[in-house]
Amino acid sequence: MNTTPPGIGFTPTRKLRSVWVHMAGMSLVFAAAGMALCAVVDLIEGGHSTAGLLGSAGITAVLGETMRRGTEVPEDLPPKAVFVAVCVSWVITSVAGALPYLLTGLFESVDAAFFESISGFTCSGSSVFTAEDFARATPGLLFWRQLTQWFGGMGIIVLAVAVLPFLGVGGLELIRAEAPGPTSDRLAPRVSETAKRLWTVYVVFTAASAIALLVTGIGWFDAVGLSLALVSTGGFAPQAASIGTYDSVAVEAVVIVGMVIGGASFTLLYSALRGRPLDYLRSSEFRMYISGMAVGVVAVSVFLAASGWGVGESLRMAAFNVATLGTSTGFGNATGAGSPGDFAVWVPAAQVVLLLFMWVGGMTGSTSGGMKVLRAQVMARVAWRELRRAERPRVVLPIKQDSEVLGEDVVGRIAGFVLLYIVIVVGATLALTLAGNDVLTGFSGAISAMGNMGPALGEAGPASNFAVYSSAERMILAALMIIGRLEVFPTVLTVVVLASWARRRLRQR
């Protein structure tokens, strides 16, 4: 029986063949490049953390380059190697991403830096930055915070696959393990070409939203920074009060449009950029995504208006916050604790609607998190079929999506995913409440972290931050973020693989 960790195997004359070391190395190199860019930004903006950023870049680059050069990707990739590679690369990159926070001296505690980094890479947008931290942080560091989200959005593995010369089927498996959603469309016959096109679309989209934000009159630093977290549906903002800083309908409108596009499938965006914008409407998932959000906005506005708000304000708050949670972005438009945008103080009915959006999240194939609209759709169809079957137990009813019949194995896998998702959220809620949080803060925190949302309800609302959780609780939340970002199965499988490997080693002793 194979007793080495997955993917590691020595051959005398060649390099170490390990997909996870190689992938992690590549990811670190990209991260280092990002850190160097931030050092430049810091220099331009007159910050004083250039050295810290350059230092982080240096350490990360040396480590990454060593890992990359010393290894090569084996030709055949068993599923477990793929899952472990993606998962481990993410964790290692997140650890490296914490370096700038530590080396520039902003955070002294490792766990706060690590949490911020994970929250960034997983596009969650839950922050432990307090208003003081924002005041102390240099422009370069704030830019790094935004950039982590941008990297994490499209996926650092997709980026790696894009530049790897040829990966064959294994590459697609890698993308699949990282990409949000149960399916991943190929935009081109070659996997690396698919990855390249995805990243091209991503860059174009980022540039466009940065320009749109610039037009609204916010400065270039904020515009670029926001656009990085916008297209990745991340939710970090360079200002302490997030979008609430500007208190501007124009900025909010641009952000809403950006979030909605970011939360929709990038395959559809690619088609639209290639001149087929109507493809959006042909996708039943997109129709559900948009109509669901429209219904949500109406419902929330009604609940808010019924609680005594003006209609205009209700609509504005409902539209922004449904969009921010329905796309798992997590920007806030609260101008302060208890202000209209602070949904932690809204009427419960509106909060419950928001919780549902936090649970479902955006579309498959987008940068968003959550359970995904497609899965919710399929589950609704499964529920409907179950009722029909109760009347006629022997009737055969296939589940269809976009007039294509889904195989029972796909349906079963989706049902399993939803089940696992709920089990993990419930388990984490139990852990968070046993650690002393109230039920609302624990439950909404778990749902929010698992769906890569950002803000939660209760004490961790949009006008507050995740510093309300203790370090141990934040580690639980950070784990949930990675589990959620990588779509549950890869992380859980990695744990299973590593556990069984460790067990075998122990038995051998």
Partner: protein, 524 residues
């Protein structure tokens, strides 16, 4: 519309059960079974009248009159509508819903005519809570009510418990889900091979078992120091996992350690699968030992008891601490709703744990509610197989519960049930919040009502009258309890029927328009 023996013209036969049996228009399973239920309710009302005579006797006359009326109507229904020889799945669904509704109707009349409530909503809620074996009550001070009414309340839960058993024995197998919890067919076995004779025999057996357990419970409580009236009432509400109480403080009122432990035993019995009880009585120890669900049930209660005792220990002795913990844990897992202390004030983690346990619920084939442990175990086994197949795509695995293999067809049905359960709970969550409750109350209330436990967190904590959450929210809770007690299908089927009538009409209208269209569009 033309009706043939097998249903509407052109429809495929709904199942092999109903081929070639002429169905006269007078035959109706719905009316017949509802009539039977009314007969039983009538008998119970007469018994309540007798019970009232031992107390103040003020309601005896109205109870007796209603009892006679209920018996007469029941007999008339049974005479007018004989039971058809074959019942379609659809009709069995409707039968379950109609029977429960008619029972609730009788009980509402009882509460209104005896003047227990002057408000229709409250009477309906108390009746629904009774027949769905949920512990939510509108009565703040039960001791002020007459003995007849108290007895009737308790008996509604007992009847409701058996109605629930009848649903899982006689209705669900027709639907291909969650078959009877017979010793041989402990697991859901798909479309039932059971003949109606077999169903009748099973129902008879379960009735005897259920009554025996109730008798055991009554004797236990009597021995523990309750008066005969309380002993019988509490046996009714405990073995049925109902949770109504003759006193404002539930079991805590007796202030007796022995009675509380006996309450734990009673609730444990209530949540126990009757097939396991049957196997035990028949001496099939291997079947009892081999029933994984039983061990999970015991394990959940034990683990919860220990967790509560460790986390929540406000200056109590070990014995007191264990007793309170065990009582609360057994009440939650068996979905009963009796209490000795307001557990919603405990550490948030413990309250969350209890809500989860309430959602998981009791054993299949028991009177208890919830998602049912066996489904949970099957789903975990399914998840494990799913993970294994992702690692080794060519692996062919099976889903098991203990030693028994669950066929894939059945797994698909359980996954479907899971989707239905989640959707219903989520809808209840939103509806409760829209009706004005806070988020935590809405979440825990939705789970608790669907599991027919009743009390929950926030405004729904134990000992508070359910009317505290407002009339709209009470209606939502009532609907959820109803859905939970009859395993969702019958209620949701009614909802679908209500929706499908206009949808079909619309389709027919569209179809006609298409035929009439000049370009000769294809008829769909």
């Amino acid at each position: 519309m033309t009706w043939t023996p097998a249903g509407r013209v052109g429809d495929p036969p709904e199942s092999s059960l109903d081929i070639g049996t002429p169905r006269s228009p007078r035959q109706s399973a719905e009316a017949n079974v509802a009539g039977l239920a009314l007969l039983v309710a009538g008998g119970a009302l007469l018994a309540s009248a007798l019970a009232d005579l031992t107390g103040t006797s003020e309601d005896a006359l109205s109870l007796a009159a209603l009892g006679v009326a209920s018996v007469v109507v029941g007999l008339a229904l049974r005479h007018r509508f004989p039971l058809p020889a074959r019942i379609t799945p659809r009709s069995s669904l409707r039968t379950a819903a109609v029977t429960l509704l008619s029972l609730i109707g009788v009980s509402t009349a009882v509460y209104l005519l005896t003047g227990t409530f002057t408000n229709l909503e409250q009477a309906v809620m108390e009746s629904t809570s009774g027949f769905t074996t949920t512990a939510l009550t509108v009565i703040t001070d039960p001791e002020s009510a007459g003995r007849g009414i108290l007895f009737w309340r308790a008996v509604t839960q007992w009847i409701g418990g058996f109605a629930a058993l009848a649903t899982i024995i006689a209705v669900l197998p027709f639907l291909g889900v969650s078959g009877p919890a017979d010793a041989q067919t402990r697991l859901p076995t798909g479309i039932s091979h059971l003949t109606s004779g077999h169903v009748r025999r099973l129902l008879g057996r379960y009735l005897v078992l259920y009554s025996t357990l109730t008798l055991v419970g009554a004797l236990m409580f009597l021995g523990g120091g309750m008066g005969p009236f309380d002993a019988i009432s509490y046996a009714f509400t405990t073995i049925s996992t109902g949770g109504f109480s003759n006193h404002a403080g539930s079991f805590g009122r007796f202030d007796s350690a022995l009675l509380e432990w006996l309450g734990v035993a009673g609730m444990f019995l209530g949540g126990l699968s009757l097939s396991v009880v049957w196997s035990a009585l028949r001496g099939h120890t291997d079947r009892v030992v081999g029933a994984l669900e039983l061990w999970v049930y015991v394990g959940l209660i034990t683990a919860a008891t220990l967790t509560i005792s460790v986390v929540e220990s406000p200056g109590l002795t070990l014995a007191e601490n264990l007793r309170i913990s065990a009582f609360t844990a057994a009440s939650a897992v068996s979905s009963t709703g009796h209490y000795v202390t307001d557990w919603s004030l405990w550490e948030p983690g413990l309250t969350m744990m209890l809500v989860i346990l309430i959602g998981v619920g009791a054993m299949s084939g028991s009177v208890g509610g919830g998602f049912r442990i066996v489904r949970g175990v099957a789903l975990f086994s399914y998840l494990w197989r799913e993970l294994a197949t992702q690692l080794r795509p060519r692996l062919v695995g099976v889903v098991r519960v203990g030693r028994e293999v669950v066929p894939d067809r059945m797994v698909a049905r359980i996954l479907g049930y899971q989707a239905l359960y989640i959707a219903t709970a989520a809808a209840g969550f939103v509806a409760l919040a829209a009706a004005g409750t806070d988020v935590v109350t809405a979440l825990s209330g939705s789970v608790s009502a669907l599991a027919t436990y009743g009390p929950a967190l926030g405004d729904l904590s134990v000992g508070r009258p359910v009317s505290d959450i407002g009339a709209d929210a009470v209606v939502v809770m009532g609907v959820l309890m109803f859905a939970g007690r009859i395993e969702l299908y019958p209620l949701l089927d009614g909802v679908i029927s209500a929706f499908s009538v206009p949808v079909r009409a619309l389709r027919r209208f569209r179809g006609r328009r298409r035929i009439a269209s000049p370009d000769g569009g294809v008829r769909s």
